[in-house]
Amino acid sequence: MKLSRRAFESCIALISAAMPCILLLFVFDDQIPTSGLEEIGPRVYPDTLAYAWLALSLLYLADQWTRNVGEPVEIGGSAVFRSLAIIGVVLVGFLVLNVAGYLLGAVFYILCFTWMMNERGWAALVLSVVTPVVVYVALEAAFQVRLPTILD
């Protein structure tokens, strides 16, 4: 799928414009406690920022709309799939880290990523075991930082 640069940049501008709107409409009211006694409300600064963000986004939208420069953007199927796969590995790995501790999580990450980068020999296997152990021991010895393991 091909997108013109104008359409692509406009999408970015719109997404960027949406974020301060979400903050202003749904988040700030809830998440910024007020005490009512201050002379200067706690909302002044956050609101200023959000409006600045919104204004800049709209400015960018206008700027892109008036001049259409740059190469069209290719949004391909396999690249998207690969990106999603990577993000998936990161998330699953985080789960492993949380559930089974640091050592297994690290082994998982190294195995997955070396595999995805076409590094599928014994070197990857050895690294996936040696790295976490070395790091664990080094941190413990040098900084007294104990990484959580499956035993904790």
Binding site: L56, I87, F113, M117
Partner: protein, 501 residues
């Protein structure tokens, strides 16, 4: 004079020298590993200050600080993974050079610029700590607000392709910095009930996520063919050293970066990251070859690296001259002073001149040590970075998350790192400058606190922002700086389109 001789003796006493050297080497290595920063190195050294001689412990800490700032640039240049936020400005140009097989050249430029920046600011410290420290008192809330806005326009315009996009990224960074305690009520805001967010989002976690993890994800994505060395070997002898031409190019940006970095160091709260970015930007404005910026410019690296290291020495100016710490590292040094029974501030010159002179001599010696340690370290790290990417990047990924965890021993931070890894990855795709986001995030508290303080002082009257001469100078500078960038961009665009027709 006797005091100075005594100090020299003191510093070169074998025991003290070992601590100094260990501090510098440790700082370089820790700084070079993404996630382990100079701040962490210093914090880890604190227990030693309970028992060590004051000069030895101060030397070890300042050595680690200097080493850490340089070390961060090693991984920035070789792997696009800045070890510290101060090295973020070096990423693009350093990496571009490394990709041409000129990694060693880039590292050497960075090292020389760092050492010169360090030495320059140390000398300024030695000559005029007490006098210059008063400058820190010129900066009230209004001046800080104007200065921060000025810095943001400068940084926003330097990076990336579009000024507006840069500013959007900066504002997004500022917004992220709002998470945490409300500065006036002390109640958490925007934390969604998550206790780990009460204190704000951890800078280390965001830095590692948005720079290092995002970069690793990109590398992993691109690697479809068989994995090979990430950085090609040098093709020519000149690729690995600083040529006469390079030296000529470096002179001006190093001078500019050193001066700017020193000024930033004198003003409490600004820090080395800003020093790097302003050094980079100024180098661009006075460059002989501005078109090379972002594509492997020696001038860019020289400006950024002298800029961030020059902050380290100057940070001690308000500390020694007034007893006010310039940043977190200097605040930790105050603890070290107190625990040794010393009074941070000008009194120390009378109470224990030996400590002051010891510190002075030690700082200069530390710069020499940094030169040697740097030269050794870059050889090792270049070799490491020569490992096939398919093996290198997964290991660096694991190191990065370990570093994030180790900083506060919090798995929540690791989650934050991953989140911002994905955000950074998307920002790369959308060509939104990550460095501006980062600097917005770093400067956010400074801007908000001072913006609100100004209004608290004026009971909500906005005209207070125009009430100070120094502040007004910064406002004008901000407008001029942004205007100049607009003008330059337009000129370049016109030239580009003129060339096509």
């Amino acid at each position: 004079m006797d005091a100075v001789l005594l100090a020299i003796n003191h510093v070169f006493a074998p025991g003290n020298l070992i601590f100094l050297v260990a501090g510098v080497f440790g700082g370089v290595v820790l700084g070079a590993i993404p996630g382990l920063s100079a701040t962490m190195a210093i914090a880890l050294l604190i227990p030693f200050t309970l028992t060590l001689d004051p000069v030895a412990s101060l030397l070890m800490m300042t050595g680690a600080y200097k080493g850490g700032i340089f070390g961060g640039s090693i991984s920035a240049i070789l792997m696009r993974a800045p070890g510290t936020s101060a090295a973020a400005a070096t990423v693009e140009d350093g990496q571009a050079l490394a990709k041409e097989g000129k990694g060693l050249k880039a590292l050497k430029v960075s090292l020389i610029a760092s050492v010169i920046g360090d030495t320059f600011s140390d000398i300024i410290l030695i000559i005029s700590a007490v006098q210059l420290a008063r400058v820190a008192l010129q900066f009230g809330p209004v001046e800080y607000t104007a200065l921060t806005v000025f810095a943001l326009t400068v940084v926003g315009s330097a990076a990336g392709t579009s000024l507006i996009k840069g500013l959007i990224a900066a504002v997004a960074g500022l917004s992220l910095a709002m998470v945490g305690l409300d500065p006036s009520t002390g109640i958490p805001r925007l934390a969604f009930g998550e206790i780990h967010l009460y204190g704000g989002v951890s800078l280390i976690a965001v830095l590692i996520g948005i720079m290092t993890v995002a970069e690793l994800l990109r590398q992993i994505e691109q690697r479809r063919e068989a994995s090979r060395a990430h950085i090609p070997p040098p093709r020519h002898r000149d690729d690995s050293r600083i040529t006469r031409e390079d030296a000529r190019l470096m002179a001006r940006p190093i001078a500019a970066g050193s001066i700017l970095g020193t000024i930033i160091g004198v003003v409490p709260g600004l820090g080395p990251t800003l020093g790097a970015f302003l050094g980079y930007d100024t180098a661009w404005r006075i460059a002989r070859k501005p078109e090379k910026f972002g594509k492997g410019s020696v001038e860019a690296i020289a400006g950024a690296e002298s800029g961030n290291n020059a902050v380290s020495g100057a940070n001690l100016i308000p500390l020694l001259g007034l007893g006010i710490p310039g940043d977190i590292e200097a605040a930790i040094l105050i603890g070290a002073f107190l625990i040794q029974g010393l009074t941070p501030g000008p009194l120390i010159f009378q109470e224990s001149p030996d400590v002051v002179y010891g510190l002075y001599v030690g700082l200069l010696v530390a710069n020499a040590v940094l030169l040697v340690a740097g030269l050794l370290a870059i050889r090792v790290f270049v070799r490491l970075a020569g490992v096939r990417t398919g093996l290198l990047f997964p290991v660096v990924f694991v190191l990065a998350i370990v570093g994030t965890y180790a900083f506060q021993q919090s798995l929540f931070d690791v989650g934050i790192t991953f989140f911002f890894g994905v955000v950074g990855y998307l920002m790369v795709k959308a060509d939104i400058p990550r460095t501006t986001f980062l600097i917005g995030f770093i400067l956010g508290p400074l801007l908000e606190d001072n913006f609100r303080r100004s209004l608290e002082l004026s009971s909500g009257q906005y005209d207070i922002f125009l009430s100070s001469t120094l502040g007004n100078a910064f406002w004008i500078a901000a407008i001029l700086s942004a205007g100049w960038v607009f003008y330059q961009r337009r000129k370049m665009r016109r030239q580009a389109s003129g060339g096509k027709q």
